[in-house]
Each structure stands twice: as C-alpha cells, then as structure tokens.
C-alpha cells in the first residue's frame, strides 16, 4: 500500500531521515521505536502525507500534539474527525447546535476511549490524559482502514495504555504507531522499526527482534 525507497525526509529544508526505505502492507501493525528526536514523527508524517496524496480517505491520524481546539467542547473535537463527510452547512449546524444523531455517534467513540458522558465538557477543562483520549476518540469516530498515531497513549497510565492500544488494534486493520513503551510495543506490534540517528536500523517482524537490539536503540 506504500513503498518509500531511498527517499530523503525532513521538514523545512532540514533533513532528518536521509535515504529511507520503508514499506507498509495492509494488515500490518508497525511500531516505531527510537529515542526522542530520532525521526519517528518525521517518518509518520511522511507516511500520512503519502497515503493522503494517494487519495485515500480511510485514514485516521493522532498527531503528537493532538491538534485539538481547546475553545470547543469534547463533542466538537471528536465530531471533527468526520468533517469531510458532510457539507459545510451541516457542519455549521452541528457547531452551533449538535444534532442528536451526531451526539449519539460521538458518544460511541467517547465510550470506546473511556470518556463516556463527557461530550459537553469544554476541552480546556480536561486533564492531559483526557485530552489525549479525546484525540483518540476523534480518530475512532473517523474510523477507516489505517491509523497513524504519534505517541497516541503517552499521557495515560500503562494499564490503560495497553487497553486503548488493543482497542485501536480491533478497529483499525493497519496501524503505524510511534511508541516509547517497549513492552507495549511488543504487545501490539506485528513489525518493529527501530530508528537511530536518522537511520532505520531495525525493520523486521516483532517476534524476531531481540532485547539487545532494542537496548542498542536507546544507548547514548
């Protein structure tokens, strides 16, 4: 579904990942590991941009900083996952006066991330973990075949993080996630990609990645 070969990735004229080889196949759950600043986000953004450029609409995204609108309610932020499905006029009606049908659907997504009944709360009043769950709910509400997530559960505790990632795994057939929790990565990943100093040093099925290989990723 996607194949990057010998590409140079970066942002604003700044090269982060020179000479990248990366392929993505349907049904894979790829987890990116590496120290912060190693280039995980750059790779994720590139994957999302490429898939979107192919004209795919079945993509959901959880960006690193969530991209939520703090001035709006939880409902609105989750509803935004499907903005592209409706006409502008229908969206505006829901901005001013959320319709019952939309509220129900958003509530389903909220229940999946553990925020049931919180749709009316202003986003600004939520804790960091709840905000992150809102961003997840937006992706869940959007749905689709592919989820791109940049540290999607970094702000929730370990046990809930595992539950949430498992929930995502049930809803999205293909996932590319950047995670910092190696145990969690082993739990969910079918394939692990390790990035160190701008190079993809590991790229193989999760079961064949050894502990020392991963330790080497995080060594100074």
């Amino acid at each position: 579904m996607l194949h990057l070969q010998g590409e140079t990735l970066g942002y604003g004229g700044h090269v982060v990942l020179p000479d990248v080889d990366f392929a993505l196949h349907p049904g894979e759950r790829v987890v990116l590991l590496g120290r912060s600043g190693s280039g995980k986000s750059t790779l994720l953004n590139a994957v999302h941009a490429r898939l979107a450029a192919q004209g795919r609409r079945d993509l959901a995204l959880v960006p690193q900083e969530h991209g939520l609108v703090p001035q709006l309610s939880v409902f609105h932020n989750v509803y935004m996952g499907r903005l592209d499905r409706h006409r502008a006029a229908y969206n505006l009606v829901n901005l001013v006066w959320p319709l019952a049908a939309e509220r129900r659907q958003v509530e389903d997504a909220l229940r999946a991330v553990g925020l049931a009944g919180m749709g009316r709360r202003p986003l600004g009043a939520l804790s960091g973990g709840q905000k992150q769950r809102t961003a997840l709910a937006r992706a869940v509400h959007r749905g689709g075949a592919v989820l791109i997530g940049d540290e999607p559960v970094s702000a929730v505790d370990e046990r809930h993080a595992a539950e949430l990632v498992a929930m995502l795994g049930q809803r999205f057939r293909t996932m590319v996630l950047a995670l910092h929790d190696v145990a969690l990565a082993r739990l969910i990943a079918t394939r692990i990609v390790g990035i160190r100093k701008g190079r993809l040093v590991i790229d193989k099925p999760a079961s064949r990645v050894g502990k020392d290989e991963i330790d080497a990723l995080y060594r100074l």
Binding site: L61, V69, H76, N91, L92, R142
Partner: protein
C-alpha cells in the same frame, strides 16, 4: 570575542543613530515650520476657558443627552458594520486585491470619508455609519487576519484530508481566535466613540457638534459639560458594553439613527457623484476625443499638484515630524508617571489621570481647542498630535515597564535612578517601535487637522469641498492615501531593520481572567 562584541553592539548603536536622525530632521524643519502664536491674546483666552471648565454648565442637558445617545449610536452601528465587513474579508486578506482595498480604505481618515460621503448621502445617518464602517472594515480585516495567522495551526493540520475550507475555518481556525476578535472589537468600539464624537465637527449631530457650537459662542461652561459627558461615556464603556447585549444595542442604535431627520438630497446623488462630480473638471467639460481636453487635464493635475498637493503634503509631513518628536518626549516623561516606585502613590494617581485624558481626547478635538487658544499655525496641531500620541505611547510603555519592574532584582534602586538605569534602557527598543508605529497614524492625523484651517492636506481638501470641487478633493485624498502608504512602508522597513518587529506594537490582549480592554496599541 571581537565578533560577539561587535554583533551585540550593532543594534543599540543603530537605534540611537535612528533616533538622532529623526530628531535631527525635526530640528532642521524647525525654521521652516510655522510655529507662531497667532492667537490674539492666548493667556486671556486660556483664562476664560479655565474659568468655564471649572464651572460646568449643564443647562443644555436635553440636547447634550441626545447628542450623547447619537454619538453612541453612530459608534455602535459603524463599528458593527465595520467588524462584520472585516470579518468577511479577513480570510481573504492574503489576496492582493483584498489587501489593497483594505489598505486604501483605512489610509483615509474617518472625517475625510465623512465629508466625501456627504456629497452623496448628505448629513444623514448613512454618512456617519459608513464614515466609520469603511476605514474600520480595512483595519478589522487586517487585524482579524493577523489573529487568524497567529493562531495555533495544528488543529487545522489535524483535520481529515479533503475537508472543505469553510468547515476547517469554523471548526479549527475561528474558535482559536474568536476571543481576540471580541476583545479587539471592544477596543475598536472605544476608538469608534472618539471618531463618532469628532464627526460632529463636520456637521453630524454628535457631541463634537455641540462642542463646536458652544465653543463658537464662547460658552466654556457648556463646553466643559460636553467634555464631562464625553469622558463619562468613554470611562463607563466597560460597564455597559456586554457581549450578550451587543445585538440589542446595535438594533437600538439603528432604531435611534433611523429616526434622525436629515436634509433631503436630490435624487440620483450617487450617480451624479460617480459620473460627474469626481471626474476631473477638464474631462467633464471637454470632449474626450479632443487633444486640448487632455492638455488641460495635464495643466489641471500640474496646478493642483504644485499649488495644493505639494504645499499641503509638505506641511503635513512637517507637522507629523515635529509631532512624533514631541510625542516621544511626552512619552518618555509621561510613562514613569505610571510607575509607583518612580513617582510614588500620589504621582501615579495624577499620572494615570493625565494620560487617560490625553489619550481619550480625540486628537482632532485637542487640535480644535489648541487652535482656539493659539490661533492658526502649525503649533496647535503639533501640540495636539504630540500630546495625544505621546499619552498613548506612554500608556503602553507604562504597562510594559510594570512587567519589567516586577522582574527586577530585589535590591534595585528607586525613583529617578530606577527609571534611568533599569527601565529606560530596557524599554528603549519598544519605545522606538511604538514611535515608528504612531508615525504613520500621526501623518494621517496631521492631514486631517487641516480641516481646522492649518495648512496641511486637509485644509485643501476642505476648501475644495466648500467650493464644491469634489474632483479636486478626490485628487488630494489620493495624494494623502499615497503619502500614508509610503510612510507606513518606511516605518515598517525601519522597524524591521532595527529588529523591532513583532510583539511590541501588537495589541497586547488581556488574558481570559484579566478581562480588561487592551491598550491603545497603535492600530488606531
């Protein structure tokens, strides 16, 4: 080491040099500036005024309250219309045509718009509303678009691919800036009240009209009453202006204005204005195929440029240059008056009072009063613009230096030493930026005070209108527009080259909890 040292020294030196150049130009202009005291007996006049101000005469309260209501009504309708137009234009502000339209609209002062519109819509509510709404629309569009640009772009980036622009705007862009929009609109309403009052000087029935009438009759007690009513309106704006009530206010204002009786205009005034009045006289009277017509048009432009535009422009720039320097001096003396560690508790009280009066009295009104005392020369204009703009700069600097003072070491000195050693050096860059920023506004204002009889561009515009030569007035207004735009460009370049761009001149909007109005951050 040498490199670091030279790099660090470059900017302050550039700033001081720029200051010196500016002051130097003003000093060179002093001999050519007409700064006579032309009044008959200024001290006696001042004495009579002082007596009147000390004994306000409220006997005209019915007409005063009507004028006050109309002042508020014009301000509300004008600002509401301007804000709505600006809101619709803001997302398109990136396009060259929209931007040019907005720049043109706001480079012409409200009073000029008023006397121009009067040719079409007469002394009517429409004239007053449009005179405020047109330039304000240009300002709103610019400021709103800046707020949108500065808002967090990440939510918009996180929208699903293929989402329509309108949906993205209302969900992921507007909510991030809407609070700033509201605060800025409230601030504009305060400017609108000032402008609305001043519209009275060209005949609309607002407080300025009352002021003018009483001044002409020497009824200084009644003048004092008008001023007191005006200051009360400005001072209480935060009490009565509540967002949930805004629609009701605007509707009520429209209703009040709709009851305004106005002298009727002949039918077809708009077509006559566009098709006849503003067409240069030689083109209007001659045949367009005749070369002689075009020769006389050339002569028309040449004469107008040499006899009116150039002297008017020169006077405008001279007044503006001197006024900027005076404003700088007023600001440097005035802003420490807002700092308790420098002048003490009582000093701060008086400092606040003086600066509030200085900045909330419209520059046109100040110039008008000064003119009554000092007689027609550049002097009253320079003093009025210098005081008004100086008070605004001082107010902003005072706010900024309160922040600086809070972060100083505990054993910092007090009084004048604190001012000279700790605060002034830190605030110098912002001070320059603000002066540059006000420069463009002062040029606009210097042009307009010509309507009072001082030889700046406004004088020639006013004369042309009185002679019902609207074509000449339009030509002169285009010159004014060009001058404002050029000054704006110079000011922006200078600020950029001195590293003074950005936050220092942007409206420092209050935080959510703060809830206060922003200061008079330029943009006026």
């Amino acid at each position: 080491m040498r490199f670091i040292a030279s790099d660090r020294r470059w900017r302050p030196r550039g700033r001081i040099a720029t200051t010196l150049v500016f002051v130097g130009i003003a000093v060179l202009l002093l001999p050519v500036a007409d700064l006579r005291i032309a009044g008959h007996d200024p001290w006696a006049e001042l004495g009579r005024m002082g007596q009147g101000l000390l004994a306000p005469d409220f006997s005209a309260i019915p007409s005063l309250s009507r004028a006050a209501a109309l002042t508020v009504a014009f301000a509300l309708c004008g600002v509401a219309a301007g804000a709505l137009a600006g809101f619709l234009l803001a997302p398109l502000y990136g396009r060259g045509a929209v931007r040019a339209l907005c720049v043109a609209a706001r480079s012409i002062h409200e009073l000029f718009w008023a006397i121009l519109l009067m040719q079409v819509t007469g002394l009517s509510a429409t004239t007053g509303i449009l005179a405020l709404a047109i330039p304000y629309a240009g300002i709103f569009a610019k400021v709103f678009s800046e707020y949108l640009d500065e808002a967090d772009p990440r939510p918009a980036h996180a929208m699903p691919p293929g989402t329509g622009a309108i949906s993205i705007f209302f969900f992921a862009r507007l909510p991030l800036a809407i609070r700033e929009f509201g605060t800025y609109t409230l601030y504009r309403l305060e400017c609108g009240l000032r402008s609305s009052a001043v519209l009275g000087f060209v005949g609309l029935p607002t407080l300025g009209f009352e002021l003018d009438t009483f001044f002409r009759q020497g009824m200084y007690g009644a003048v004092a009453a008008v001023l007191i009513v005006y200051y009360l309106l400005i001072a209480t704006i935060r009490l009565w202006m509540r967002w949930p009530l805004a629609p009701a206010y605007v509707l009520a204002a429209a209703w009040v204005l709709s009851g305004l009786r106005t002298p009727p205009m002949a039918p077809g005034a708009l077509m006559r204005f566009l098709g006849h009045d503003i067409v240069p006289a030689p083109l209007r009277n001659g045949s367009w195929g005749d070369p002689a017509t075009w020769d006389s048009l050339g002569a028309w432009v040449g004469n107008l440029a040499l006899d009116q535009a150039l002297p008017g422009l020169a006077a405008t720039l001279i007044v503006a240059q001197l006024a900027v320097i005076l404003a700088g001096v007023v600001a440097v003396i005035g802003f420490p008056l807002l700092l308790r560690p420098v002048v003490g508790r009582l000093g701060v009280w008086f400092g606040h009072l003086g600066l509030v009066i200085g900045r909330s009295t419209p520059e046109y009104m100040l110039a008008y009063v000064m003119l009554q005392i000092l007689g027609p020369s550049m002097l009253p204009a320079v003093i009025a613009l210098g005081l008004h703009n100086g008070a605004i700069i001082a107010h902003l600097l005072g706010r900024q230096s309160q922040g600086i003072h809070a972060g100083l070491r505990p054993d910092a000195s007090a009084g004048f030493d604190l001012y000279a050693w700790e605060i002034l050096p830190r605030i110098h860059g912002n001070f320059l930026a603000l002066c540059f920023y006000r420069w463009e506004i002062i040029v606009r204002e210097a042009a307009i005070v010509g309507l009072l009889g001082i030889g700046t561009l406004g004088f020639y515009v006013g004369a042309a209108i009185q002679e019902i030569r609207v074509d000449r007035a339009v030509f002169l207004l285009l010159v004014t527009m060009a001058a404002t735009i050029v000054i704006d460009m110079i000011s922006r370049r200078s600020r950029a080259s001195l590293g003074l761009t950005g936050a220092s001149t942007r409206p420092a909007l209050p935080t959510e909890r703060d809830g206060r109005l922003p200061g008079y951050e330029g943009l006026d």
